[in-house]
């Protein structure tokens, strides 16, 4: 965040930068299997989506993978749940996760088995969401914010999704409590729309915030993405695949997390 601000300051005060679309020489890899698995503490929140990668310059239609065997187990109580394919590549079950429990995922597809495990953290309550006004280079800018109290006696990881007028914000919002443990938190979610122009929120905007309490592996996954997003090659960290908690080289993640959702209209 700080670097971003410095960057903006230098660029806008001293120099004018310019952008253009260029051709780059890349080779597309063979399609890879992508598994996105979720168990939440809400009924109906359990799903596993299996798809494949496409070339970076191809259009964003991702082939779904059908016919997989998807099983989730909870070794603490011997629970074994088989997921059913509701629509091509989308497997689900009416499984409601319990905070503190560890879930194991097993996916068999195309003769390969992929496994993963994730522990659902204890619920940290999303107290409220609101709109915060900051002065930003002389302009008052409104941003969405989540309010919560971080528990002092445990290490917590949070992941947020932000929707403004039902448009999903492309930025990755992920936090840990390394520097803020045990405090009342106001976590600001800067909106990033598709067209790059970030004027902040306007009166009448409908804001939805989803908060997920995640485990440390899933934090690493989103944190790696957040470090890369919006920077690209030659800026920021050297891009690499985020560390997946799924075995056998599958992309994606399997996350058991708590889930809360709140909405508000900007005044």
């Amino acid at each position: 965040m700080k670097k971003l601000i410095i960057y903006i300051a230098v660029i806008s005060f001293c120099f004018t930068s310019c952008k253009k679309i260029i051709d780059v020489d890349t080779t597309n890899a063979e399609p890879q299997i992508v598994i996105e698995g979720k168990i939440t503490d809400q009924a109906g929140g359990a799903s596993v989506i299996i798809s494949k990668t496409v070339g970076y310059d191809e259009s964003g239609v991702y082939p779904k993978v059908s016919g997989a065997s998807v099983v989730v187990t909870d070794p603490s109580n011997g629970m074994v749940v088989t997921f059913f394919e509701q629509s091509p590549g989308v497997y689900s079950q009416t499984l409601k996760g319990i905070p503190g429990h560890t879930y194991n995922l097993s996916v068999k597809v195309d003769g390969k088995t992929y496994t993963a495990s994730s522990t659902m953290p204890k619920l940290v309550k999303l107290d409220s969401i609101g709109v915060v006004s900051n002065s930003f280079f002389g302009n008052e800018r409104k941003t969405a914010a989540a309010f919560l109290v971080d528990p002092a006696n445990e290490t917590n990881f949070y992941h947020f999704n932000l929707y403004v007028n039902n448009v999903f914000s492309k930025r990755v919002y992920v936090n840990n409590d390394r520097l803020t443990n045990g405090n009342k938190l106001r976590i600001q979610l800067y909106y990033e729309s598709n067209d790059d122009d970030d004027d902040g929120l306007k009166t009448g905007d409908a804001v939805i915030v989803e908060m997920k309490g995640i485990d440390s592996n899933i934090f690493d996954y989103w944190y790696t993405l957040s470090q890369q997003s919006g920077r690209g090659p030659n800026q920021g960290t050297t891009p690499a695949n985020p560390p997946s908690n799924i075995s056998n080289g599958a992309l994606g993640y399997f996350s058991a997390h708590t889930y809360q959702r709140q909405s508000i209209t900007v005044k």
Binding site: R178, G182, Q227, A240
Partner: protein, 774 residues
């Protein structure tokens, strides 16, 4: 061979020469600029008579030559000065202190052929570039702010850190592997304004030497290069002022005698004024913002008597960036050097230095709930004792060096309302000690050796809690160490060896091998250097970085040393290099060492350099063909991958044309292959995000860089003592959009698709600077 045996052998070799030096006498003295009293570094002294010999003055203008008794003709010369010839009867040890007069021929344009030096061909030293401070004034740079760090980037083997950036990479090394010293003190962060300008105010600089390889044994502590910068001593004859007003900054320098011919001082000040424009803004938020830097260089010297001279010099610089109600960030270096030059006898010269230097930064976030202040400090106390012994065919150099480091990684203080917790990360203490000896041995007219060794010790000191980690970075144990305990020690012997063989006065081959080690490392997983980069010492986890370099070269001068050509090849092996785990958190992390990966590197290349030194038109062409790679078990499937700064081809052309006494035109043209970067090989979607799939690390290439810069200098008409000049410049005269970064975005015309969007920083930027002197 053990370390002890090696050193004994070395001492044996070097001491035999002194035994043979009977019935000989020593000619010694100090060579100065007659107009200012500044000592001249690297002035040539040649004597002919019963024997022929030559030498150069050292960093303090001192020289000594020991020869059989007899009548000699002595010639002293230095670029841009009128040579002096004297007849001397050497029948006893003789002093020769000379002051040279400035030649009135515009910096040596019509210097007579016989006085041109061929030191580049003759000396065993390889990989050395000396920056001509006069040429520096006319080389075009961004916003007209002349800059030694940007000028060295125009030399082969030195790659720029990025557009407009003062960071540099030497022969495949990393940016933190350059030893940058100002009057012997380490400058940790050599950049202002996030890297667009360097901390070196050219007005205050007397001499700049860059060692890309073949580092002499008196230097140590970094892997890939040494940039030795020396400040002006100040005029000891009369008071002088000079300064300049530019687009970005203004400069003022004052110098003069403390006691005429015995002591002098120099003070130089520079400050930017972009923020004055900000303050002029009617907008209350913008006029509350800051964006400036300033630096002060000061130096004084006093010659107590013929045998003792003391020097004290200091540098103080600061950057301030802030946006009202958002954040403030300031950072800067402080260096202080106290030195005593002592001449024991005509042949033994010593320099004792006591040095203090630090680098610190402060970041304040001013948001109402995330407000905090973070500070960090690196501080060194350094003692250096250096001896030079001049004998007939040997110049012996030996000494010792001890540096105490203290690093305060981060200290976070917060207000009551802040949601950030206060944090003090443990300080780290280290002691670096080294002894060295080297000998420059002129075996005969054709063969020269420069060889020696440096024995470098590093100790990580208590107090502290030192963690150890497993292969995945999990904490295994933590050991509590009390104050003053030597927790971890490393000892490295660094052999240094160079040889030159002259076919004739214009033609030579050279070869060198040297090892360097490094015990202080910068942790950053961003591309460009940032003021908040973190320093760590070698430890139980971090092993000293080691580099071994071999190089060979052919050196050729033409047309009575008017043209210089050199071709050098090198190969470098690097051990214990550092990279980072995925999701590494480097700041404010007590277990930061658990986030590190260790690997190896290799770099090799060819450097060609052709320079025309004299005449109305002078300049150079440099070409580098190189490769630099890294290998980490955890990255890129354990295979070698190109380092980001791996640019295969790098060409620079610098031309300076002195039209007449008033007009000088210059241009520089650079071309380089793009940086090695990682491009996606596919994409997928998770959690509503488009995520890119990567295969090979740094297998892609940014588009190439090319830039033409122009400048013209107009000297004002002489009005008595007052001299002024105008400098006009155009940066990126072709207006080419060079790549700064590439981002993959959704195609604006076809949203499901992805395209690459390049950001460029600087278009064509004109500049004008007015300089004066009186």
């Amino acid at each position: 061979m053990s370390i002890k045996q090696y050193l004994l052998l070395l001492l044996f070799f070097t001491s035999t020469s002194t035994l043979l030096a009977q019935n000989k006498f020593t000619l010694s003295g100090t060579i100065r600029d007659g107009s200012s009293g500044e000592t001249l570094i690297g002035a040539t002294i040649k004597i002919s008579g019963p024997t022929f010999a030559g030498t150069q003055t050292n960093n303090y203008g001192y020289f000594a030559l020991t020869q059989p008794a007899g009548n000699y003709t002595v010639t002293i010369s230095y670029l841009g000065f009128i040579p002096v010839t004297k007849n001397i009867n050497l029948n006893k040890d003789t002093k020769l202190n000379e002051e040279l007069k400035v030649g009135n021929d515009l910096g040596g344009i019509v210097i007579r052929a016989k006085n041109r030096k061929n030191e580049n061909v003759k000396s065993a030293q390889m990989g050395l570039e000396r920056i001509d401070m006069k040429a520096l004034n006319s080389i075009p740079v961004l916003l007209g702010e002349k800059d030694i760090l940007k000028t060295i980037q125009l030399l082969p083997g030195v790659k720029s850190g990025g557009e407009g950036n003062t960071g540099f990479y030497v022969r495949g090394g990393a940016a933190d592997q350059n030893l940058i010293i100002l009057d012997e003190a380490v400058v940790y962060n050599s950049s202002h304004l996030l890297g667009f300008f360097s901390t070196f105010n050219a007005d205050a600089i007397k001499d700049v030497s860059l060692y890309k390889g073949g580092m002499p044994a008196q230097y140590g502590g970094r892997l890939s290069s040494v940039l030795d910068v020396k400040m002006d001593d100040g005029n000891n004859k009369e008071f002088k002022f000079q300064g300049g007003i530019g687009l970005i900054a203004s400069r003022l320098k004052a110098e003069g005698p403390i006691v005429k011919d015995k002591g002098s001082f120099m003070v130089s000040f520079r400050r930017t004024y972009i923020d004055l424009f900000l303050q002029a803004s009617p907008d209350s938020s913008i006029n509350g913002s800051t964006l400036n830097f300033y630096d002060i260089n000061a130096k004084a010297n006093y010659k107590i008597n013929d045998k003792n001279t003391i020097y004290i010099s200091g540098y103080f610089g600061k950057d301030n960036i802030g946006v009202k109600d958002l954040f403030e960030n300031n950072w800067g270096n402080v260096t202080t050097t106290f030195r005593l030059n002592h001449i024991f006898n005509d042949r033994l010269f010593s320099n004792t230095s006591l040095i203090y230097n630090n680098y610190n930064y402060t970041v304040r976030l001013l948001n109402d709930v995330t407000n905090f202040k973070a500070t960090s400090l690196v501080r060194d106390f350094n003692f250096k004792e250096d001896f030079q012994y001049f004998s007939n065919k040997h110049t012996l150099r030996f000494g010792l060096n001890a540096t105490h480091h203290r690093i305060s990684p981060i200290d976070i203080t917060t207000s009551q309302e802040s949601q950030v917790n206060p944090l003090t990360q443990e300080k780290r203490y280290g002691l670096e000690t080294a002894v060295y000896v080297s000998d420059e041995w002129a075996v005969n007219e054709k063969l020269n050796f420069l060889y020696g060794a440096r024995l470098a010790a590093f100790s990580l000191l208590g107090p502290g809690n030192f963690g150890s980690y497993d292969a995945d970075g999990n904490v295994l144990s933590s050991e509590k160490v009390t104050s003053g305990k030597f927790y971890k020690n490393y000892l490295n012997l660094e052999p240094r060896f160079s040889v030159s063989y002259l076919f004739n006065e214009e033609n030579s081959v050279k070869a060198s091998y040297n090892r360097n080690t490094q015990n202080i490392h910068i942790l950053t997983n961003a591309t460009s250097s940032s003021p908040t980069d973190q320093y760590v010492l070698s430890s139980n986890n971090i092993k000293p970085e080691i580099a071994d370099q071999v190089a060979a070269g052919y050196f050729r001068n033409f047309n009575e040393n008017n043209y210089e050509f050199s071709g050098e090849v090198y190969y470098k092996w690097m051990q214990n290099q550092i990279d980072y785990r995925d999701a590494a958190e480097l700041l404010g992390n007590a277990n930061v060492e658990s986030e590190l990966l260790y690997g190896t590197g290799r770099a090799y290349g060819l450097e060609l350099f052709f320079k025309k030194k004299f005449g109305k038109l002078n300049g150079w062409v440099g070409y580098t063909l190189s490769k630099t790679e890294r290998k980490f078990a955890e990255l890129n499937n354990g295979n070698y991958f190109p380092a980001r700064q791996d640019r295969t081809h790098d060409v620079s052309f610098v031309g300076i044309y002195n039209l007449n006494k008033r007009w000088t035109f210059s241009s520089s043209l650079i071309y380089s292959t793009g940086n090695a970067v990682t491009y996606p090989a596919g994409k997928y979607i998770v959690g509503g995000q488009t995520v890119y799939y990567y295969t090979q690390r740094n297998a892609g290439r940014m588009p190439y860089n090319m830039r033409l810069d122009l400048s013209a200098t107009l000297e004002g008409k002489n009005k008595g003592k007052f001299q002024s000049s105008w400098n006009f410049g155009v940066y990126n005269a072709l207006g080419r959009k060079n790549p700064y970064s590439i981002e993959f975005i959704n195609d604006p015309n076809d949203p499901g698709k992805t395209v690459a969007e390049q950001t460029s920083l600087f278009g064509m930027i004109p500049s004008v600077t007015w300089n004066f002197k009186f």
